[in-house]
């Protein structure tokens, strides 16, 4: 900071606070305790302390507490400016000191003081300090302060209320009458704060919110800030499904805000309307007019706001924005590059094919001036444009290749490369040009990730082009110039040319031989392997090995390898035995985002937090561990599948029992979870007696009773283990009776009577179906797997499902009967179809892969559905079992 002040006096060289040290400043804190209080010195010291804090100097807890205590001495001062600084200091220190509650009584005294300024600031400090145990003592004063005639005090109380909603919502909710009255305050900020707090108090009561909004809409709030809030609330009420007169009034209000005299309100209304779901072109017209007005405003913020919103509108309704195109073209030269970029991006979305060349020229002029973030926005817009106007790919591709050569960070370059990749993929005519551009790019590319990605593409696409040989040079250059990752990718790419094109094979072999001398293991290994294949000496090694994509799910390969390593490793690992079936992902449920404070703004929000409702993997692992710990079940083998719990009692019954069916290779274990809801009873020796009602007979191998089921919310399990005698799965309906001994309990003392009575309780029947023996699985390519399984174990059956109303119903039922997973989105029957094929994949007990093809024909109204079910698995018996499940 020297030069500016060089000509001034020596003492002005030094800026205030220069060289200030925490240790020295902290020592000065005794000034606070001096009597009489020197207001000037104390204020100066507080300022110094706050300066240190603002600079990020850390106070230890001890230091902060010391200062806090020292500062509390200043409550005795009558000097108002000093007291103002004292409040600020206390507020800053309140979060880092211990025992801050000692100031509560002083603050309470200030809250009822006659000085407005004391009242307002004491409230603000208090709201920071008071916790749930102290708040009830002072709450009365805060509530009164809401209606204080001084707006400073009222605002302080309301804003404190908004903060306290996080921790003490119930208490703040009791202020509702005062807040309601404050809504009518003639002071604009008080009304604004009251509106915010009122909304928070009512936000979980939709009816109350809509009432609040309707009354505010009728009376129109006083400040622009309150309007912005009300606009957001109004949109929320509309989204919640307001209708009729109410919706009309709200829509009228929003539209009237477009004509408000405050820019802030006009803009808030414009973006709120444009963000509405199902907004019509007619509703957008006045919005676009407002934004168009802003486009030519001298204020950059307004231009930015307008073009940003128009850009968003253009994504869904480009036609509505076209009227602004001329204004936006003027903005390409805007000195604020953010505005220029957004204008370009919008124009690219709304522009016609004829304007592409002109636009690209304009953009080219300023790409160098903007930050990477905005360049990515432009690249993104170009990708959309390219796909929209494929004939323009030449112009756009050459633009992309130009910017690819310019300076830029990884994210930016990645965006360009991905765009070229996508364009090449979608527009076949663009392929050769695109590959050439990418070849040139890797000549001078500093990003390993991008180089390997491009080399992979060259390997898979290059051989199919008209002149494949021209790519070899580019690829081989990488082998001599790059790091090991890129070299390895280049070797793989070369090998693909050799494998695909016989006439080039000898040359490729020569190049690969050179790679065998590489300094890196991976590169050498790849080269050696590819050479072995391409030299063609071993008839087992066909070029397909290089070309065929690797389709095995890596998780399966990993678990197979792990299993292999645990057993004897004399025989070689058989990669063919690795299952291609994978566990389907559980559908993720979108939970509504939790609104902590207020409604969402009009922005494109709508947080979706993935929350799996049940986690099969965890459940399986949990059950497996639980059952494994029971000696009787330790030798049953690997748990194949556990059903979800089935309730066997009414939800209001005295004893609540649910059943989980565990399928083992040769056994079925029924787990009965029993809950006791009677507080004057304890159940002992609880077990379930099972008997066959229909279907297969039961061979009970062992039973594990629950010793004690006390009153309480936890369910205690008991088990029945049944042996399956035949290969075929045991199915049927089984009656269940809960048997136990009741002992009386005195609820008040918890004493348990020694004497017990045996008792029984009838439960609902348990069903065991074929679907209990299948596990859902997913396959990457159904047809391939279908062909691989072959027709040896195939069973075909035809059915007439007369009770089915529609194909969609039939699909649902079949999936449920078979317990398998639908592939290729075939669970969705396209509307108005009379025929449909459903593909299902799963695993049968013993980890046997099974596939099913269900050809369905709707017989018309009331005629049911004709089904031809074809099941394939390695064993015809298993296929038969499944086919009979329907």
């Amino acid at each position: 900071m020297g030069s500016r002040f060089e000509k001034k006096d020596d003492d002005e060289y030094f800026m205030p606070f220069q060289g200030l040290e925490k240790g020295i400043v902290l020592q000065e804190k005794r000034i606070f305790s001096e009597a009489p209080i020197n207001a000037r010195k104390c204020s100066a010291l507080i300022t110094k302390l706050l300066w240190l804090l603002a600079q990020g100097d850390k106070f230890t807890k001890g230091e902060a507490t010391d200062v806090f205590f020292a500062v509390t001495k200043l409550f005795q001062s009558k000097d108002i400016p000093l007291r103002r600084m004292m409040f600020l200091m206390l507020k800053e220190l309140s979060t880092m000191s211990d025992d801050v509650i000692i100031v509560i009584s002083s603050l309470t005294k200030d809250i009822i003081s006659k000085v407005d300024l004391y009242r307002a600031n004491a409230i603000r400090v208090l709201a920071r300090i008071a916790d749930n145990s102290l708040l009830p003592q002072v709450e009365r004063h805060l509530k009164q302060a809401i209606l204080d005639k001084d707006p400073h005090v009222a605002s302080a109380a309301l804003v404190s209320g908004i903060h306290l909603m996080d921790t003490s919502a119930d208490l703040v909710k009791r202020w509702v009458n005062e807040v309601q009255e404050a809504l009518n305050s003639k002071h604009t900020m008080v009304q604004y704060h009251a509106l915010a707090l009122m909304y928070q108090i009512k936000q979980h009561d939709r009816l109350a919110v809509s009432k609040l909004v309707m009354s505010m809409v009728r009376n129109s709030p006083r400040s622009p800030f309150a309007h912005t809030l009300l606009i957001r609330f109004a949109c929320e009420v509309l989204e919640d499904g307001a209708s009729g007169e109410q919706a009309q009034a709200l829509n009228d209000y929003l539209e009237s805000c477009l004509r408000n005299k405050s820019d802030m309100v006009m803009y808030e209304a414009a973006r709120a309307i444009s963000n509405r779901r199902n907004v019509t072109a007619k509703e957008l017209t006045p919005v676009v007019s407002v934004l168009q007005l802003f486009l030519s405003s001298p204020k950059p913020t307004l231009r930015f706001a307008a073009v940003r919103t128009l850009n968003k509108i253009a994504m869904t309704a480009p036609l509505s924005v076209v009227s602004c195109n001329l204004d936006m073209e003027n903005l390409i030269a805007d000195s604020n590059r953010s505005i220029a970029t957004l204008a370009i991006s919008t124009l690219l979305k709304t522009g016609s094919e004829a304007s592409v060349d002109r636009l690209m020229k304009q953009i080219g002029g300023f790409m160098g001036d903007i930050s990477d973030e905005f360049k990515i926005v432009v690249v993104d817009a170009i990708r959309t444009l390219c796909i929209k106007f494929p004939q323009k790919h030449r112009t756009l591709m050459s633009f992309l290749s130009n910017i690819l050569r310019d300076e830029g960070g990884f994210e930016y370059k990645k965006a360009i490369v991905n765009t070229i990749l996508e364009v090449v993929n979608v527009i076949p005519e663009a392929k050769e040009l695109g590959l050439t551009h990418l070849c040139e790019f890797i000549e001078d590319c500093e990003f390993t990730y991008l180089s390997t990605k491009i080399l992979h593409l060259l390997g898979s696409e290059g051989p199919a082009t008209a002149t494949p040989s021209k790519y070899i040079r580019y690829i081989y250059n990488r082998v001599s110039l790059e790091n090991a990752y890129v070299r390895a990718s280049a070797v793989s790419a070369l090998a693909k040319f050799g494998a695909r094109l016989e006439q080039m094979r000898p040359n490729i072999v020569v190049l690969l031989r050179r790679c065998q001398h590489d300094s890196d293991d991976e590169v050498r290994d790849r080269a050696t392997f590819y050479l072995k294949v391409l030299e063609g000496k071993d008839p087992q090694l066909t070029p397909d090995l290089i070309l065929a994509p690797f389709t095995l799910p890596l998780a399966n390969l990993e678990s197979s390898l792990n299993e292999f390593l645990q057993g004897p490793t004399d025989a070689p690992f058989n990669i063919g035995a690795v299952s291609t079936f994978i566990e389907p992902p559980k559908p993720k449920e979108a939970t509504p985002s939790l609104t902590r404070k207020g409604p969402k703004t009009a922005g494109p929000s709508g947080g979706v937090t993935p929350a799996a409702n049940d986690q099969p993997v965890d459940d399986a692992a949990k059950y497996s561990a639980q059952l494994g710990a029971i000696p009787q079940f330790a030798k049953l083998g690997k748990l194949f599948r556990s059903s979800s719990p089935v309730e066997l009692t009414e939800s209001e019954a005295e004893y609540l029992v649910s059943c989980v069916k565990h399928i083992f290779p040769q056994h079925v274990v029924f787990q009965f979870n029993c809950k006791n809801t009677l507080n004057e009873q304890q159940l002992e020796r609880v077990q379930v007696r099972m008997a066959s009602v229909s279907g297969d007979a039961l061979t009970i191998e062992s039973q594990v009773p629950a010793d004690v089921v006390p009153y309480g919310p936890t369910a205690v399990p008991s088990y029945v283990c049944v042996r399956r005698d035949s290969e075929a799965p045991m199915t049927g309906t089984f009656s269940c009776t809960l048997k136990f001994m009741v002992k009386e309990v005195d609820p008040s003392t918890g004493d348990i009577d020694d004497f017990g009575i045996d008792d029984e309780y009838q439960l609902e029947d348990v069903e065991l179906a074929t679907s209990d023996y299948t596990r859902k699985a997913m396959v990457a390519n159904f047809q391939e797997e279908w062909d691989k399984l072959g027709d040896e174990g195939e069973i075909v059956e035809t059915f007439n499902l007369s009770t089915m109303k529609s194909l969609q119903d039939a699909v649902k039922e079949i999936i449920q009967y078979l317990g398998m997973y639908p592939c290729d989105s075939t669970e969705q029957v396209p509307p108005k179809k009379t025929k449909h094929i459903l593909y299902l994949a799963g695993r049968f007990v013993g980890d046997v892969p099974v596939l099913a093809r269900c050809r369905m024909k709707s017989g018309g109204e009331g005629q049911g559905v004709d089904l031809e079910l074809t099941v394939r698995s390695p064993s015809a018996d298993i296929s038969q079992v499944l086919a009979s499940a329907i």
Binding site: M85, L229, G598
Partner: protein, 211 residues
């Protein structure tokens, strides 16, 4: 699409969680920097208050490098929308959620600069004057925004709530007696003489009429 599967490098999908923002906490931070990018004062609210000093300074550095020597007044940076203004050798910034109403942020920025200008009276806003009246900077921020919530934006109202006009320094700034230059003294003397001569004449006139 399927054609691109099996890359040497797995494509890492980054999903962006769109977090809904709470409209009452309008301001994420307010930053005042000097012309060399050093911090004069900064206040972070809500989640940003938990950031370390280093992280906050990192952000200020980035913000400064992106906005230095630009005439524009708004920027979208790292998923924050920032409005800013340069006054003399001082940079003022107000940041909010990217979905926040930027015109509203601009109003807060305007209120900040207006209040400082109003309260500093004759003194211009510059690096030195802000340090010399640092208490005023702190109190302005405190009265403007309360934990991210807009508290008051009217410059006069904020100024009255800072009560700094009563401070000793403020009183000391008004000299007890105005020293007059010679010319002024002569001027004053002449006026007094003129008034008293006039008065004397009028008195005489009055006395004559009385009699």
């Amino acid at each position: 699409s399927g054609d691109w599967s099996g890359f040497d490098c797995d494509v890492v999908c980054v999903s962006f969680a769109l977090v809904s923002i709470m409209s009452f906490e309008v301001v994420k931070n307010i930053i005042i920097l000097a012309s060399d990018g050093t911090r004069i004062c900064s206040k972070y609210y809500g989640a940003q208050a938990q950031l370390t000093n280093e992280a906050q300074r990192e952000w200020e550095k980035k913000l400064f490098s992106k906005t230095q020597n630009t005439s524009s007044s708004i920027i979208l940076l790292d998923n924050d929308i920032v409005v800013y203004r340069t006054v003399s050798d001082v940079y003022f910034y107000v940041s909010g959620h990217p979905d926040e109403n930027e015109v509203m942020l601009e109003a807060i920025l305007g209120a900040l600069c207006d209040t400082l200008g109003f309260s500093l009276k004759e003194t211009p806003i510059e690096h030195r004057s802000l340090l010399e009246h640092y208490d005023l900077v702190l109190l302005t921020l405190d009265e403007l925004v309360d934990e991210g919530l807009i508290f008051e934006t009217d410059a006069k109202t904020i100024d009255s709530r800072m009560v700094l006009g009563l401070e000793d320094e403020g009183l000391a700034a008004i000299p007890k007696a105005l020293p007059l230059s010679d010319q002024q003294q002569q001027e004053l003397q002449r006026t007094i003489n003129k008034v008293s001569t006039g008065l004397a004449g009028q008195l005489k006139q009055f006395a004559a009429n009385w009699n």
